[in-house]
């Protein structure tokens, strides 16, 4: 692929803090105009990768480009082309909403008015509080202000490090609607999240854990490529059942997942026999069905394969 069609190119990036390998030979590409999700738990290395890409940290080895520019050689140029929303709230708490916006605009030599159109769908939601200090805003308002500040200089690549962590389900889904809007306007977006259910909102995702990539693909392909029979089962005593399921040999893995426990079956798995077994063990109202995996099932499978 021609480099110019890529918003971000990461090849073989490693970074250690003392003896801890935060990133271990990571490679991935983000195409222009796509929303690329970095999905993984705390400690997976998401923030380290972000810091390297926005030129706040140097990698130990490997190459990375943003907007076609090298993160080490061209770091000054990159800084004016990227918008970065760190995981920790990093605006000035003593400045008002309006003052924060003006400050960030002036850093990049623009005015709020100049690029108002780009931020308007988000900024207009908090503008009526423009004289309130940033430190006194609710979580959702801080999030919107941080996104507005990251956008005010009209960056070509947007980096959002866990923008939805600690935010409730409704606000999270509204936030993703805003991202989709920005994508429509041509921005390339790299976004990280620990919430697996947000993966489906991305064009492509990388599942990462312990500093390396488990898989990169579209969310749909990942689910389609799931290569084991998966069942959901529920009954009147879910904890007892879980302990029983763990002892069944034809079950490769089983785990809680909301209303049902999921069963990753091996070839010898026999549905009728399991139901009989569970009934014999005194469990009632047993309901067992084949289920379609989601990204969390994929992640668990990849992690389990790795831990074996």
């Amino acid at each position: 692929m021609n480099t110019s069609t890529l918003a971000i190119k990461v090849s073989g990036i490693s970074k250690s803090y003392g003896s801890v390998k935060a990133l271990d030979n990571i490679s991935l590409d983000v195409r222009r105009g796509e929303i690329f999700g970095l999905i993984g738990p705390d400690g997976a290395g998401k923030t380290t990768l972000f810091k390297i890409l926005v030129t706040l940290l140097n990698a130990d080895s490997g190459l990375a480009q943003v907007d076609g520019l090298d993160v080490q050689k061209d770091y000054k140029k990159i800084r004016s082309r990227v918008g970065y929303m760190p995981g920790k709230f990093s605006l000035y708490p003593d400045l008002t909403i309006r003052e924060n916006m003006e400050f960030f605009a002036s850093l990049f030599g623009v005015t709020v008015e100049q690029n108002y159109d780009l931020v308007a769908p988000i900024y207009s939601q908090i503008e009526k509080f423009s004289n309130r200090r940033a430190g006194r805003l609710s979580g959702g308002m801080k999030q919107k202000l941080a996104l507005s500040c990251a956008l005010i200089h009209k960056p070509s690549v947007l980096f959002l490090d866990e923008p939805t962590t600690g935010v409730d389900a409704v606000s999270r889904s509204e936030f993703w609607d805003m991202l989709f809007n920005l994508k429509e306007q041509g921005l390339s977006i790299l976004v990280s999240t620990p919430y697996m259910d947000e993966a489906s909102r991305c064009d492509r995702i990388a599942l990462i854990n312990n500093g390396h990539v488990l898989d990169i693909d579209t969310p749909q392909n990942m689910v389609d490529n799931y290569d084991a029979p998966l069942y959901g089962v529920k009954c009147d005593n879910m904890y007892e059942m879980l302990k029983k399921l763990r002892k069944v040999e034809s079950i490769a893995n089983c785990y809680t997942t909301g209303e049902y426990h999921h069963i990753v079956a091996s070839k010898e798995f026999d549905v009728e026999r399991l139901i009989q077994d569970l009934t014999d063990n005194g469990l009632k109202n047993i309901e067992l069905k084949a289920v379609i995996p989601d990204i969390e099932d994929v992640f668990i499978k990849l992690l389990s394969n790795e831990q074996q």
Binding site: P41, G166, D168, V170, P194, Y195, Y239, T256, L303
Partner: protein
């Protein structure tokens, strides 16, 4: 200590800050041994309500008991009889696993002989024996959270309050954490838990949903789904939270 069936039993609990009513006449009970999910959108009043239930703040009005003590005046006693764990503050990072256990056990008045026994039991149960002398700060987040739960139950409280205990934890460890909750519950400990993961709400025996300072729904996950004609608790949450007037 009262012997009734309810470990939490509150009526019209209300908290005002100036003219703002953060918690608005909430009335509910939690049975002993129950896993109770306390849901709500950001800004709905969950944290304020939880602080009152944990004896950290007194209600503006209302009445009730937690672990048999009066929520309007026995905050200190409540604190001593409950376990509490939050995502933000869990353990001292520059103390070892064992030192954290000794410190918290000591604070809660666990006798040193009991403490030694319980600590070694817990280390074994958690597969942490080799990490006994490891600084907590160098443990992965998921391990810290499991350890924090264990530490919060060292003094054998009848009820443990968990404030978003699994935020950011990987999917496998998150489930291991919930198995610890299941186990504690099966041994009779009451669990009061908040979470943003809606699948976790389904693991609870009953869940309540706070909107604008009030409890708008409270029942078993199955009944709530039926009542709101929702396929999942996630969907029920969205239906109720979209009706919220305040918040973000």
């Amino acid at each position: 200590m009262s012997n009734n069936d309810y470990i939490i039993d509150v009526k019209d609990l209300t908290k005002k800050f100036g003219t703002f009513t953060a918690v608005d006449h909430i009335t509910f009970s939690v049975k002993r041994g129950e896993i109770f999910g306390f849901l709500g959108a950001n800004g709905a009043g969950k944290t304020t309500a939880m602080r009152m239930l944990c004896g950290l703040s007194y209600p503006t009005s209302g009445s009730g008991t937690v672990a048999g003590f009066d929520v309007t005046k026995e905050g200190e006693k409540i604190k001593r009889h409950i376990g509490y764990m939050s995502q933000r503050f869990s353990l001292y990072e520059d103390l070892t696993v064992m030192e954290n256990m000794e410190l918290f056990g000591g604070i809660y008045g666990v006798k040193s002989k009991d403490l030694k026994e319980r600590a070694s039991d817990l280390l074994e149960k958690l597969n942490f024996v080799e990490e006994r002398d490891t600084m907590v700060g160098s443990l992965p987040l998921g391990w810290k959270q499991k350890l924090a739960f264990a530490v919060a139950t060292l003094h054998r409280p009848e009820i443990v309050f968990l404030d978003e205990p699994t935020g950011g934890v990987d999917p496998i460890t998150r489930r291991q954490f919930w198995e610890m909750i299941y186990q504690a519950s099966s041994e009779g400990t009451t669990i009061f838990v908040t979470t943003h993961y809606m699948d976790e709400a389904e693991y609870c025996h009953r869940v309540s949903m706070m909107v604008d300072g009030q409890i708008k729904a409270l029942d078993t996950p199955a009944n709530l789904k039926k009542q709101y004609n929702a396929a999942s608790i996630d969907e029920m949450f969205r239906i109720l939270a979209r009706g919220a007037k305040r918040g973000d």
